[in-house]
């Protein structure tokens, strides 16, 4: 098999200070803006690439296209008013924001959401993870020219959105997990309709397995490509599937069980090669875990019971001074909210810790030099990053 050998060229060369010298004037280099409107980019960000031939010698990540100042906005809203905006930090998997925020508020206010709400929250998070993986699968297919995978996954995701819609009243921004619990019970017959979605999903996923994972082109372009040395995981804050693809069996659902994960049976999926293939495969297999979890939750969850804890009057809800950090295993790794309160009716500070913050910035910039320009999109997509968590 033909392999791309980096460092074929003698450029760039170190200057007197030891730093690589990239002088565009020499005509040896080409600047290429990968994004923000490139189909191979994961959302609104861009990577400023410097090429020498087809080799990328430098990559700088640029974000800010989607900055809405969420963390600041949250400081200007009462505790209940923050609830509708948190989901907007992340379109593909918004529910993690809702849960982290609600849980952090509950912790600092000394409230416990009822059992029914805990199960519902877990269900929602798995549905969200499933959907996020649908986009990841479609994305990786798309980045390697297999648009049809994206179409299938979009269809399956849409079916799951239908379930979200009937359950929460909205398709994308569900606004269903609020401090104190969740907004309601599952509609009549929900489990049955969910089963139909899961069965359809499994049919399409079998096709994905045949069309993508059992595919010479896909293998050639992902195996051994974009390898992340596991030694980089901790210095670069790599978590979630990206680390699990390198043999690290860490999953907060297991290691620091939150919600009702300690009452559920599942295994932590790992691969060892730490390349694009392994990252794609971990996600592919984790979809099966999610599907199984959704089935389990629906079978095990209580049929009835209160969904909301008693709240103080939210119109003048004050929370004593304190700080906490609530995190869980999102589809992309550790997702957390750091909430600081000061005794007033508003958060003093909310900091959203999205896995993409480390994956798409320092890590990506570290991985890019030496790659072939044709692999950059697949590399990026294999990290499964969502820019809004970087710039919030």
């Amino acid at each position: 098999m033909i392999r791309f050998e980096p460092d074929r060229s003698q450029y760039p060369q170190p200057g007197d200070d030891g730093k690589l010298e990239i002088d565009l004037e020499t005509g040896k280099y080409l600047k290429l803006w990968h994004g923000p409107n490139h189909p191979g980019i994961t959302g609104n960000m861009s990577v400023e690439l410097t090429l020498c031939g087809d080799e990328v010698v430098e990559g700088k990540v640029h974000v800010g296209y989607l900055h809405r100042g969420f963390e600041k906005l949250m400081e200007r809203r009462t505790f209940i008013q923050v609830f509708p905006i948190v989901c907007r930090v992340c379109v593909p998997e918004p529910d993690f924001n809702e849960w982290c925020y609600a849980q952090a508020v509950e912790e600092l206010a000394g409230i416990e959401a009822p059992e029914m709400a805990q199960w519902t929250r877990t269900l929602i998070l798995e549905m969200g993870r499933f959907n996020s993986y649908m986009m990841a699968m479609g994305g990786i297919g798309g980045a390697l020219g297999m648009g049809v995978i994206g179409q299938w996954m979009t269809y399956v995701r849409d079916l799951m959105l239908d379930r979200f819609e009937e359950m929460t009243g909205a398709r994308i921004y569900h606004m269903f997990i609020l401090p104190g619990g969740v907004r309601g019970h599952l509609p009549e017959g929900f489990a049955g309709r969910m089963e139909e979605v899961l069965a359809t999903a499994e049919r399409y996923l079998a096709d994905v397995d045949k069309a993508m994972f059992t595919n010479a082109v896909f293998k050639a372009r992902t195996k051994g490509v974009g390898v992340i040395d596991p030694a980089l995981f901790e210095p670069y804050g790599v978590t979630g599937p990206n680390a699990r693809a390198g043999g690290v069996a860490k999953d907060l659902r297991k290691d620091a069980p939150y919600l009702v994960y300690d009452q559920l049976d599942f295994e932590v999926v790992t691969e060892t090669a730490s390349d694009i293939w392994a990252r794609a495969m971990v996600r592919r297999r984790d979809i099966d875990v999610s599907i199984a979890l959704i089935r389990q939750i629906l079978a095990k969850m209580p049929k009835d019971g209160p969904v909301m804890a008693k709240l103080p009057n939210v119109l003048h809800w004050k929370i004593p001074r304190g700080e906490t950090y609530v995190a869980g295993e999102s589809s992309r790794g550790e997702y957390g909210y750091y909430l600081v309160t000061d005794g007033s009716g508003y958060p003093r500070r909310v900091n959203v810790r999205g896995p993409s913050y480390t994956h798409a910035m320092a890590l990506l910039e570290h991985l890019i030099p030496g790659t072939n320009i044709a692999d950059v999109a697949a590399l990026m997509v294999s990290l499964h990053t969502y820019p809004p968590e970087i710039e919030r």
């Binding site: 008013q81 819609e165 909205a170 309601g184």
Partner: protein, 604 residues
Amino acid sequence: MGNLRDVLSPFTAWKHLIETPVTIRNPIGREAADGYRGFHQNDIEKCIGCGSCEVICQNAAIDMVPVSAPVDGDSGLRPKIDYGRCCWCALCVDVCMTGSLTMSNEYTWVDADPDAFRFIPGVDPKPWDDMEKGYRREGARVLTGAERVEMGELPPEARIDNFDEIVVGYTREQAMIEADRCVECGLCVATCPAHMDIPDYIAAIREGDYDLGLQILYETNPFSEVCGRVCTHKCETACAARHEGDPIAIRWLKRHIVDNVSEDRRLEIVGTPQALPTGRKVAIVGAGPAGLTAAYDLARQGHAVTVYEAQDKPGGMMRYGIPEYRLPYDALDRDIAVIAAQGVTIKTGVRIGREIAMDKLRGEFDAVVLSIGLHIGRSTRIPGTEGPGVEAAIDLLARITAGEEVPVPERVVVIGGGNVAMDIARSMARLQKRKHGAVGVTVTALEDFAHFLADREEIEESFDEGIEIVDARGPQEVVRYKSGKRKGAVKGLRTWAVTSIFDGQGRFAPQYDQGDERLHPADMVVEAIGQAADVSILGEDLTEALEWTRGRLAVDPAGRSSEPWLWAAGDAVHGPDVITAVADGHRVAASVGAMLMAMGEVAR
């Protein structure tokens, strides 16, 4: 060979070519899920314009706009939503105090005019107004507390043989929780006759700032300790929280503030008049809440105020009517002490019209305020009411307060279904329990329980205390012994069942079922059917000179009579309760003060 499989396997994807497409051909018109959060609906009759939806909306998408004239408990405002801002979070639906606001599951609407997407749901007609489907809040309102913190009370057996105060008062923790429920819409302020700044003093409780709370109370009501106990709390009928839960215990919260500020501290906070003495003199006849409130205001304006009171102690009906178990005398005394500290002279035991004539007051003072209340008990005048053994409720209550001996027979029947009837019934029950060891009181009321005049709590507590209440009975005769040792003494009250109280025009014209007759055995009958003002004190000339409307002294909205020097306030002209008397006192004081200021200007 694995590699061949890797080449062939992807082609299985081609099978999708022959599958039916999964895309929805025309998404416009696709019905959303049953619980979808689409365009809002508002049941305009149910909505009270409290504005809680506006307050919670984090997008500032809601404006409260006038739609109808405000009435008690309804501002007449309705939410107008700007869909350029709305994020469909439905917090407004969740917080809605009445449940009027909901969402339809309609979400597709195209219009070239952006302003079309700003409208008043329920007022500006929309196709989805009557849609059954859409987001509805599941279950009760949870974002603001729905249930009132229960008030502690002495149990019946601990209270029935004494006049100890029944209501315990909130602890700080309880008050905090109750105060937390308030949504600060302020609908109650308009309903309170004195327009007390209710949301503000409740906020002071939440802040734990009782000094501030007391200061706010005194801005509108120098009888907050009294009102915190016995106010008719009309504000609570206007409270937004009552629609899907209990109204805020506004009265108890008021009391809680006063309970937490010592008498000395109250004097410090309220202080004494800051205005320089004006040299003007005002006489006030009657030391009830109306007269004393006017005195408080006028004294703080710098005028010299003398209050004349016929009874031995000031307070009017608050002392001589309302029983001690509802309003302890020392609570009343504390309120009056702050008023007296303003330099008000209160001369008790002086009955104007007898000891001092009105004319004399007119000569000696720049203005006179008449606040004499209603102190003549009305009688049913049914046969048998003349003679011993038939009493007026307010006379008995006054005598009990004064510590006089009152007759306490074993069986008492009370005529009347209002709060005064309950007060005398429960007072007599206590005296009976003490004297005879048993309660023997029957209350007969014209109204049936569904339309009872007395407060629900009063009825329940009376039952608890062993009082019999028979509803829908019309008194026909006080039956007396015709012969024997007890000849002439009261034997009982004969009543007929009431079939209706008002005629078609709404006039008082009770109809009876004469076949349903009962004799309620009694040794004494007490009439508690209303009171009248003793206007004989005015003297013939003045009575002649003044204007009257239906037997009451006519006054302008400021309380001024047709004689420029004479004002009237309180029960004597308005009624029916302490807080109205207080409001009246303020109003009259403002008018008198304005007149005195004008006089001052002329003199200078």
